[in-house]
C-alpha cells in the first residue's frame, strides 16, 4: 500500500519525505490545480527542486493538474501538462477528458491517475477512462461507503487510491455547485472551494462570525472550534432550528478501515492537505506511515493506537474525526 502525501511547498515536501511518504503530490501555482490559493504551490524552479529531493530519496512525485480547462485557455492547461512531463513526474493526476487526451497522445509513456475531481464511482466509469486514456489509477471519491469501495475494487482493472485523512468534501466532489452559487468560483473551474478573497471573519457581539461573499455562514461561540467557511459546513436555520443542515465540519479518517481496504486490494492511501503547513504534514504522515506499516505486518489484527488517534484529532478541522462518508449505512 502506497502512502501518497500532500505538499503545498518545499518544506512540506521535505516533511512528507522525512516522515515516510512513498509518493508526494504537488500542483503548479495557478488554477490548473484544485488547491489554488495565494502563496501556495510550485513554480518551475521550486518544482525542479522538489523533483531533485524526491529523486535523491527514492520516492515518487505526482503532479495534480486536476481542474477543468476553461474555454479559451486550454493552452495554459496544456502547458501545465508539458511542464509536468518535462519534470518527468511519476504520474499526472487529472480530471478533464480533453486534457487527458492531450496527455495520452503527446506523452504516451506518462502515467495518468484519475483525480477525485472526476468523481468516478462505478466500474463502468473506471473502464471508460482506462480504455479511452489508459489511466493507471483512480482516486475514489470520499462519498463512497466501504461496501461500495469493496465492490469497485473487485471489478476494477485500474489501481485504486482511497482517501485516508483530511478535510471532508462530502457532496459530489468536483460536481458541487455550492461554492460557485455563493462566490462565482468553483473547485472544478477555479481550483478553489470558497476562495479566500470571499471569506471574512469578524468578531461580533454574538461571537466570531464568518461570511462568504457577504453571506453569513456560521457564528462560533468563544468555546467552539472554528472551521474554514465552506457553504456545506455552515449552520442554517431549517425548520426553526439552527443546525448543520448539510454536513458537520469534521475531518475524514479511514484509518480504522485499513485492514479491510488492504484486503480489498486498494493500492494507495491518499492524505489531504496541500493547503496545510509542514508541521501538519510531518505529524499526519508519520502517523499514517506507522499505521500502514502495522497493518502490513499484522493484517486483520491491526488496531488504531490511541496516540495516532490523538495526533489526527488535533490536526483535524472541527476537531472530531469520523469515518465520514465511508460509513453511511443509508447508502
Amino acid at each position: 500500500m502506497e502512502l501518497v502525501c500532500p505538499a503545498g511547498g518545499l518544506p512540506a515536501l521535505e516533511a512528507a519525505i522525512d516522515n515516510g511518504a512513498d509518493a508526494v503530490y504537488i500542483g503548479f501555482n495557478d488554477d490548473t490545480n484544485a488547491r489554488n490559493f495565494g502563496g501556495l504551490n510550485f513554480n518551475d524552479r521550486s518544482a525542479l527542486r522538489a523533483l531533485e529531493r524526491i529523486r535523491s530519496r527514492g520516492r515518487k512525485l505526482f503532479v495534480a493538474i486536476n481542474t477543468y480547462a476553461k474555454p479559451g485557455s486550454f493552452s495554459r492547461w496544456q502547458a501545465a501538462v508539458d511542464r509536468a512531463a518535462d519534470l518527468s513526474a511519476d504520474a499526472m493526476i487529472m480530471a478533464d477528458i480533453g486534457l487527458m487526451e492531450y496527455a495520452r497522445d503527446k506523452y504516451p509513456k506518462l502515467s495518468l491517475h484519475l483525480s477525485v475531481q472526476a468523481s468516478a464511482t462505478s466500474v463502468a466509469a473506471l473502464e471508460f477512462y482506462r480504455r479511452q486514456f489508459g489511466i493507471r489509477r483512480a482516486v475514489l471519491p470520499r462519498v463512497l461507503s466501504l461496501k461500495q469501495v469493496q465492490q469497485l475494487a473487485a471489478g476494477s482493472r485500474v489501481e485504486l487510491e482511497v482517501f485516508g485523512f483530511g478535510s471532508l468534501c462530502i457532496m459530489a466532489e468536483g460536481r458541487c455547485h455550492l461554492s460557485s452559487y455563493v462566490t462565482g468560483e468553483s473547485p472544478n473551474l477555479n481550483g478553489v472551494c470558497s476562495p479566500a478573497r470571499a471569506v471574512e471573519w469578524r468578531n461580533g457581539a454574538n461571537g466570531l462570525e464568518t461570511r462568504l461573499n457577504g453571506v453569513l455562514i456560521d457564528r462560533f461561540a468563544d468555546n467552539e472550534n472554528a472551521g474554514y467557511p465552506t457553504l456545506c459546513k455552515g449552520r442554517f436555520v431549517v425548520d426553526g432550528k439552527r443546525q448543520h443542515a448539510l454536513e458537520e465540519p469534521t475531518s475524514l479518517n479511514s484509518m480504522a478501515l485499513l485492514p479491510e481496504l488492504k484486503a480489498a486490494g486498494i493500492q494507495a492511501i491518499k492524505l489531504e492537505g496541500r493547503q496545510r503547513s509542514p508541521a501538519y504534514v510531518a505529524q499526519v504522515v508519520r502517523t499514517w506511515r506507522e499505521a500502514i506499516d502495522e497493518v502490513l505486518q499484522r493484517g486483520a489484527d491491526f488496531l488504531v493506537k490511541e496516540r495516532w488517534r490523538g495526533t489526527l484529532a488535533k490536526n483535524s478541522e472541527g476537531k472530531q474525526t469520523t469515518l465520514g462518508a465511508y460509513d453511511r449505512p443509508w447508502q
Binding site: R45, P195, N203, N225, G318
Partner: protein, 161 residues
C-alpha cells in the same frame, strides 16, 4: 537544567507581559523588518512577497498587547507608516506564534482551535501564511533555529502551567 530553563521562561514571560505593552513598538517593528529583509532576501528578489506591496499586515501578540505592522516597498519589507490602515491582522499569543515559527504547530490547527485569528483581508492573511510556510527553515542560521525550538518549547511548557 530543564527546570532552570522553565523558570527562566516563566519569569521572562511574566516580565514580557508587563513590560512590552508600555514600551514603544518601533524597535520591535524595526528588528522584525530587518531580520526578514536579511533572511528572506532571496524570496524578496524572486517576487514571492510582492502581494504585500503597499499593503499593511499586522501581527498582534495578544498576551504582550503589542502589534507589529509591516508592509513591503520595492525589494524590502518596511515598517508600516502610522497613518496607513491595516489591511489584514493575524493575532495569537506569543507561545503560539513561536510554535508556528519553530515548526511545532500548524497554523490551521491553531485557527480551528481558536488560538489564532485572522481579520480584515483574508486572502492577504492566508497568502502571507502560505508564503511563510514555504520558507526553507533549514536556511536560517543553525543557532537561530535551535533557539527558536528551545524558546518555543520552554514557552509552551510555561504556558501549560
Amino acid at each position: 537544567m530543564v527546570s532552570i530553563r522553565k523558570s527562566i521562561a516563566r519569569g521572562g514571560y511574566r516580565l514580557g507581559c508587563r513590560l512590552l505593552p508600555v514600551l514603544p513598538k518601533w524597535p520591535g517593528e524595526l528588528a522584525l523588518v530587518k531580520f526578514l529583509n536579511v533572511q528572506l532576501a532571496e524570496e524578496l528578489e524572486e517576487g514571492e512577497f510582492d502581494f504585500l506591496e503597499g499593503r499593511v499586515l499586522e501581527i498582534a501578540v495578544i498576551d504582550f498587547r503589542i502589534s507589529l505592522r509591516m508592509g513591503k516597498s520595492g525589494a524590502r519589507f518596511v515598517r508600516a507608516p502610522a497613518s496607513a490602515i491595516t489591511d489584514a491582522a493575524i493575532a495569537a499569543k506569543a507561545v503560539d506564534f513561536l510554535a508556528i515559527a519553530s515548526g511545532r504547530e500548524d497554523p490551521d490547527t491553531l485557527f480551528f482551535h481558536r488560538r489564532l485569528s485572522i481579520s480584515g483581508d483574508t486572502e492577504l492573511g492566508l497568502t502571507a501564511k502560505n508564503r511563510l510556510d514555504a520558507i526553507d527553515r533549514s536556511r536560517l542560521p543553525q543557532r537561530a533555529q535551535r533557539w527558536l525550538v528551545l524558546i518555543a518549547g520552554a514557552l509552551a511548557d510555561a504556558a501549560a502551567k
